[in-house]
């Protein structure tokens, strides 16, 4: 049966375009996937492929025609054996096939997007609490606040010191946190100020001090337990996952566990497979645990202060490589950053890059490089993974229609995988490309320097992914 081939829509909001060039002529046999024509809009050119096999019976719109409306018939496809008269009938509109929009379609200005209420997916009666909340766009600190450059290491120390001054119940415990000032010098000066009653050195005993920390939190204190690295926290999984996270719920609300487990997480430099892993997705999976993974010093400080005040157990994931990095931190007496509020580091309309922790380094570097090439990326730092600020991500994706996620953790069941699934569920109709989730490679971290680099995310990979989702 002869069918009409219709002018394709390259995106949900495209209304018309130019039929730039025909790559077939009447009488040509085509197979599914053959390029039939080139379609142009003011933003892009794309190849238009055949969906079915057949013979081009009639070309109804000459090449070079501008302003061809979407879904107008542009040609007639005959089945094998049909003659031209069938084409004439079909051209009259007897039978039409709406060609689906092909994949790989860069397109028009996102601001032309219809309001969310017009989008079919939004019309469904489906609980979607995350997207129901409007993103919180208040700045982290008031405009005009003085700032000074502080390293992440100092910011974390300042956060603990300020909270220890504020609340007698706060204490710090872990291996080498007191006399040695921390294996990574994060607890520098705390012993001098607060004494050994509240800055407690422990033996090499993760079961011991994680257990005491959890028990003390059960008892109403606010322990900040430092793991020399989160790799060693694997020893204490029962304390963290089975007890700290679950007891509030299991006890019917009788007993909670206001504790912070903090320390470096993720790859550093050539410390091997067991010492180079990002546990963000691992902990974010557990109901009852809050998870923060700051990138900047202001977030390190503001989030750690919030974590210490939080009535729930918080996994606070730091990064050895970032400890020495300086950032502007507001000069405020009591600066906190709330959990569940992402930070937009850079606004852009061409794609959304979602990351957190050290992944932000690649995100921001790549965004700068992309800007030189005329691609404006919106860069979102999730900052906390539990709770996760999906409304900010969703709103951004509704604007940019493209998204990549970056993390150093393993790729299976990753944070990016969760973000991508939520975008699919909450903003499917806004997507112009599949979300690309960049993660560390699915391999225990090799020791060799060159292999280690390959196992992590690179700026080049981010650039490549950005180009892929923007079809460049």
């Amino acid at each position: 049966m002869a069918t009409q081939i219709l002018m394709p829509a390259l995106s949900p909001t495209m209304e018309e375009g130019t039929l730039a060039k025909w790559l077939v002529k009447e009488g040509d046999s085509v197979a599914s996937g053959d390029v039939l024509a080139e379609i142009e809009t003011d933003k892009a050119t794309m190849e238009f492929e055949a969906v079915d096999e057949g013979v081009i019976g009639k070309i109804m719109v000459e090449e070079g025609t501008e302003g061809v409306k979407v879904n107008d018939p542009i040609a007639v496809l005959l089945e094998e054996g049909e003659d031209a008269s069938a084409a004439e009938d079909a051209a009259g509109g007897a039978e039409t096939t709406a060609e689906p929009a092909p994949t790989g379609a860069p397109e028009e200005d996102a601001r032309e997007r219809p309001e969310a209420k017009d989008m079919p997916a939004e019309g469904k009666e489906r609980p979607s609490p995350a997207s129901a909340r409007a993103p919180d766009r208040t700045p982290d600190w008031p405009e005009g606040t003085a700032t000074k450059e502080v390293t992440v290491r100092e910011a974390l120390r300042d956060a603990m010191a300020e909270e220890m001054r504020r609340d007698e119940d706060v204490f710090v415990m872990g291996e080498e946190v007191a006399e040695y000032n921390g294996a990574y010098k994060v607890t520098q000066g705390l012993l001098d100020e607060f004494g050994d009653r509240r800055v407690i050195d422990t033996p090499i005993t993760e079961h011991g001090f994680a257990g005491i920390g959890v028990g003390a939190a059960f008892g109403g204190l606010r322990p900040v337990v430092e793991f020399m690295t989160f790799n060693f926290a694997m020893q204490a999984m029962d304390q963290i996952v089975n007890s700290a996270a679950k007891t509030l719920y299991m006890s019917g609300g009788q007993m909670g566990c206001p504790i912070v487990f903090r320390g470096p997480n993720g790859a550093a430099a050539r410390v091997g497979a067991q010492h180079s892993q990002d546990f963000a997705a691992f902990y974010a999976q557990i109901p009852g645990l809050k998870v923060a993974m700051p990138y900047s010093a202001s977030d390190a400080k503001g989030l750690l202060k919030s974590a210490i005040r939080d009535p729930n157990p918080v996994i606070f994931l730091e990064n050895e490589i970032l400890y020495g990095q300086g950032f502007e931190v507001p000069d405020l007496d009591d600066f906190t950053v709330p959990f569940g509020k992402a930070r937009i580091w850079r606004e852009g309309s061409d794609l959304t890059i979602v990351s957190f922790g050290i992944g932000m380094k690649y995100a921001l570097q790549a965004a700068e490089e992309l800007a030189k090439e005329g691609v404006e990326a919106e860069v979102i730092d999730l900052r906390t993974l539990r709770p996760m600020d999906l409304p900010t991500v969703i709103e951004s994706v509704k604007k940019t229609n493209r998204c990549i996620t970056i993390e150093e953790g393993f790729p299976v069941a990753s944070v990016g995988g969760h973000v991508a699934s939520q975008i699919m569920q909450q903003a499917f109709d806004y997507l112009d490309a599949p979300v690309i989730t960049l993660a560390g490679k699915d391999v225990p971290m090799p020791y060799a320097a060159n292999l280690e680099k390959l196992a992590l995310v690179t700026v080049a990979e981010v650039m490549e992914a950005a180009k892929a989702v923007t079809y460049r």
């Binding site: 257990g211 008892g219 322990p223 007890s243 006890s251 019917g252 007993m255 939080d310």
Partner: protein, 315 residues
Amino acid sequence: MRRDNDVLEGMYRLMSLTRALDRVVGAHDGHWHGLEGEEAVAAAVYYGLREGDTVAPHYRGAITAALAKGADLGRMMAGCLGKTDAYHLGRHRSDVCGPPEHGIIGLYGGSLGPPLGYACGAALSHVMDGDGDIALAVFGDGTSSRGDCHEAMNMAAIKALPVVFVCQNNQIAISTPAPDGNGGPIFERARGFGMPGARVDGNDVLKVRAAMDEAIARAREGGGPTLIEARTYRVAGHFVSDAEDYRDAAEIAAWRDRDPVARYRAFLIEEGVMDAAAMDALDAKLVAEVDAAFTAAQDGAVPDPGDLMPEDVFA
């Protein structure tokens, strides 16, 4: 120990209550971890604690611990059955997890060992709060093999925490006899950790109580932790449904003859503290109370499906 008739009677009451729980709950629940043979340890260890003291009990005796600390019997029975009146709202079993509001840290982690650390943490919070309260960590010979046990004891000794470790050594971990689970006497580890340690006859409630009095006083006075190994015997199976084809019936019978309850009754009669009729009457009364509470719990409401409440996961 003090020859205080209130204490002596109070401990008998806890023994009798423990036996009543075995009889009533054990008849309904094949997973009930019975205490037959070990009642003296439970009674001596959990009797007479302060309201502010924290207890991380052995799962075998956890209800006795909770009741000794003032928990409501009806709500505990509701907890055994996952009913809505339970302290835990039906979210966890009360036979191993007593109510935190009565200072009980249950087996929340679900594996043996971590509660010893939690007891140390509770002890640390008592130190920080300066309230003079202490913590008890009670565990079996099986749990004593766990790294958690060693790490908790080591930390407690280093920090001189007000905690009393009690090993309720019933000489068998499910089917593993203590000699196959412990390389040496458990109480002797105390010396290695740098704390006092003692082994006592766990079938003699007075001996256990004397050791507890000393250890508790030391803890309250800032003298740090103590390890008490109360050697007893698990006459009961690991749980009610246990086929028990792994040990000699003669061995069980021999220990049944050393019944700590009968032994204590003889002592109380001889000392003129309580007579047999009074104890029999108390036994019957407690069985009736537990039975009534259990029956009421059976009739109690199960949680509403709406009580899943994921919002309660976070404070």
